[in-house]
Subunit: 539 residues, 2 copies
């Protein structure tokens, strides 16, 4: 700036007057910090306590302090936290990439437990946190909150942070934990947003028995339509790319249409007031199963890495943003609470989060263990502990919802509403830094990765192989002219004994016979120059 100012004065001509300077400065600061996070994250790769999220959060905090000092305590924010920026630009690529890169077999194998945790778990957590806040806040001194506010607090703090989960759990090392905790996070997101919207719109003076049923109806509608929309968009992209064969002329068109269709699925869901996160997740899942195999080799490599990179940048950006925003000096001033009250509220919220999650993880896991008779499918106590622990982090969704509920300034109660925002901030920063840094070493300490995940995988593959052999034997028997009802009875028995594997087996048969011939997929495209797995495995 100095050099340019001198020159401008020298020539008495400003050289550029088109862009807004404060925007330009903000972008420069953010891009520089993003680069710094990546470099630091790379240098600390071997360090098991740190990762890019925590680096970004801390760097964000530090830059917030610097801006605060430079502006003489007037402002700590270069960019104001915007829900639009977060929900329109940053969240979709992260969730899409998660669906695109998730191990589909693991995910569907654990689908029932994911739904159990994501739906019932979130509701249990919501009830407990709301109740706890209602009972405890009055004693600390917060009195102006309404019943609606308490329920909103429950919904806000039940939203786990699926982004941070991706960073602390490793899909390769602990596939079971990753798929359960991350899958739960995706379903949890839909549930908590439904709860939050419901809380904001319910007329509390007129609650009847229908209200709960209405909520359930809305949730089911939201869950199914969002999922179907995501699958439909994924299949449309697969069919379109297979039929039109863009790769004939240009690789760029293929990549562009994949990006745009994925984004369109999210925005369409938002337009229809569905859960964009669920939609874009399933769109990513379908795209990786069909569409990805229909494009040229270089498009496959490009999409795989480009989606991962965009998601990676968005993740770091969010943590930087949260870090900088935690020092929202206006809210701190407005809350004008004593340090005691502030710490009290934050500690209460944090304790409620811990209890709320414990109250559903351990019981539901044990219920699931009782239903599953096979030992390899049971969730050990160590795993239950990690599931509880890894889902304690709260992130940008929590902050976005908290601003949405409490940011309306003015009025006599405005300092308590500001206090709720600052307390939520403290919970988010504390949980991310503490749980984010401790989870990796904790997993190593519990020694889960060597003992459980490998045996679990081995057992899984063995059973599938057994199953295939059994089916083959049955098929051969029927071919040899034996009694016809035998294979049917046998499939039914197998279905009872290995429900997930059997569903998977029939899905594969259906997929190969009806889906792949229409929508493409591995081995079902006219132009297969080389193995896609080669490219897929070479991360």
């Amino acid at each position: 700036m100095a050099a340019s100012d001198t020159i401008s004065v020298l020539f008495s001509l400003p050289t550029s007057s088109i862009l807004n300077t404060s925007t330009v400065i903000a972008i420069n600061v953010f891009v520089t910090l993003l680069c710094a996070c990546i470099v630091v994250g790379h240098l600390l790769e071997e360090n098991r306590w740190a990762n890019e999220s925590i680096t970004a959060l801390l760097l964000g905090l530090v830059s917030g302090v610097v801006v605060l000092l430079l502006s003489n305590g007037q402002s700590s924010r270069i960019l104001v936290f915007s829900e639009e920026l977060f929900f329109i630009y940053l969240l979709p690529p992260i969730i899409f990439n998660a669906g695109f890169q998730v191990k589909k077999k693991q995910f569907f194998k654990n689908f029932s437990i994911i739904l159990l945790f994501g739906v019932f778990g979130t509701i249990i957590s919501f009830c407990l946190i709301s109740l706890g806040a209602f009972l405890l806040f009055r004693r600390i001194g917060v009195k102006s909150l309404t019943l609606q506010d308490y329920l909103a607090v429950g919904a806000i703090l039940s939203a786990t942070d699926s982004v941070c989960t991706l960073q602390v759990l490793n899909q390769e090392e602990t596939p079971f934990l990753y798929s359960v905790v991350f899958g739960e996070g995706v379903v949890n997101d839909a549930t908590s947003i439904v709860l939050f919207n419901a809380v904001q719109s319910i007329d509390f003076s007129n609650i009847d028995t229908w209200t709960a049923l209405k909520l359930l109806g809305t949730f089911l509608y939201l869950f199914f339509t969002s999922t179907i929309l995501g699958i439909a968009m994924g299949l449309l992209s697969a069919y379109g790319i297979k039929t039109l064969y863009f790769g004939r002329h240009s690789t760029d068109r293929e990549v562009a249409i994949m990006m745009l269709m994925a984004y369109l699925s999210y925005m369409l869901a938002e337009l229809l007031s569905l859960s964009g996160i669920l939609t874009v997740f399933f769109c990513g899942l379908v795209m990786s199963h069909y569409t990805w195999h229909n494009v040229t080799e270089s498009s496959r490599i490009t999409t795989k890495h480009a989606f991962a990179t965009i998601s990676f940048i968005a993740e770091i950006f969010i943590f930087l943003y949260v870090g900088m925003d935690a020092l929202d000096i206006d809210k701190w001033k407005e809350s004008s609470a004593s340090a005691g009250t502030s710490v009290g509220i934050s500690a209460t919220l944090f304790a409620l989060v811990l209890i709320g999650r414990a109250a559903f993880v351990f019981p539901l896991a044990n219920i699931s263990n009782c239903i599953n008779r096979r030992d390899s499918d049971k969730i050990e106590f160590g795993q239950q502990f990690i599931i509880w622990w890894a889902g304690l982090m709260r992130g940008a969704v929590t902050i976005a919802l908290s601003y949405n509920q409490f940011s309306a300034s003015g009025g006599k109660e405005s300092h308590e509403r500001a206090l709720m925002i600052t307390s939520t901030m403290i919970v988010v920063v504390f949980s991310t830094v503490v749980f984010g840094s401790v989870t990796k070493p904790l997993i190593q300490a519990v020694q889960l990765r060597h003992v459980k995940s490998m045996t679990s995988d081995a057992a899984d593959f063995a059973s599938l192989e057994d199953l295939r052999l059994l089916f083959l034997e049955n098929g051969e028997q029927s071919d040899n002219g034996n009694d016809q009802p035998a294979p049917k009875r046998s499939s039914f028995r197998l279905m009872m004994r290995y429900p997930t594997s059997t569903v998977h087996y029939f899905w594969r048969k259906f997929d190969d016979k009806f889906m792949r011939p229409v929508f493409g997929g591995r081995g079902f495209v006219p132009f297969v120059p080389s193995s896609p797995t080669g490219a897929a495995d070479e991360t």
Copy 2:
């Protein structure tokens, strides 16, 4: 929407209240239109009259009409044209990608002619258009414009559209024309923005002989500092990636850091009030020469295609945007000009653009021909014609500058200022559609691609081969113990006869000895698993 409304009414719960509906609708419309443009562009690939730009422009116009009808003539715009969106998000990836993918040898071979056209050509065009507008507009009936406005019109309409050039000229088929017209576009951009800013800030009541000198000083400062900043950022990225070796841990970090550094170079230039376009172009050039060779194989494929795809989407987006914006009904109403005046102003502006460009292309090309004694370096008349023709398109830069100058509403003269904006729109749409669709067939008609480009390339390679042999012979002679001064005299003679090739030869020697060992580059990285050219040639 209908289904969701019904459901919302049914359950009496709105399901999402976080995002702004109009933003969501706008994004949905744009993403859908982008997909449509890509599909149509793919289907019309073999059609030589159409391309994605024209499709996008026409689709934008059609959707503008649809919106206009739906809103009962109240509004034609879903998104308001924003200079920030254009200069901060859309333009940088396009220009960076152009620098990244440009054929460097061709570009530097034609560097002198590019500078000649880009600097002096733009100034000539600026003077002629300003003078013409000054003399002719009064006769049509536009009387309220000031001297400053006339000069601004000259600067605005001297800005050629480098984006559209990329679409109508093919780097493989006509490398000479591509590098001259596109290179001129990049330099022209810097020149016209300098001229525009100068016009906006000069005190016209107090013009003295220093003004011209000051302008020249500003231009030179801008040109050199922007270029140096771009080169420095490119080299920094190459050195950083080579030293830290990100690929050891993660491909995504490499790709992310390349993207962020490229973007940072642009934003840093804007922060320092330099020409971001020049900076990011040279950053792309340096990155493709050094940085690209320092990353892993999959990062190379990813960056190559991801940059091209992002640039591709941004280009289509701009044309869609311009198409929709051309029906800016408020400006049309405000201008309240008769159809005659409107057509008169547009036709005058268009004629001035034609004359202004002819006035420098043909004279400067002939001057260059007189200086170049080798026949293969001369620019034939057919080529001159194509250079003139392909640079006539006006695009988003013109619209952005026009809004910047004339959009201030209110006051008695406001209808004439609005008229200037609508007339500029007409020139942009007309020139893009007409010249965009006719250029490809025209080039085929002039039969340039088969006759000239191949002979030119062949001549180029032959002379370089000769040169290398000559240098080698000289080297051997001096090794044999002959007279020392001979090779020096000989190099000097060669330098005079083949200036560009000699510069290139010495640059290669310098590059191999000093630059590549530090910054990496082809063959100078520790880990070369396979040939990068294989990946590079396989578009």
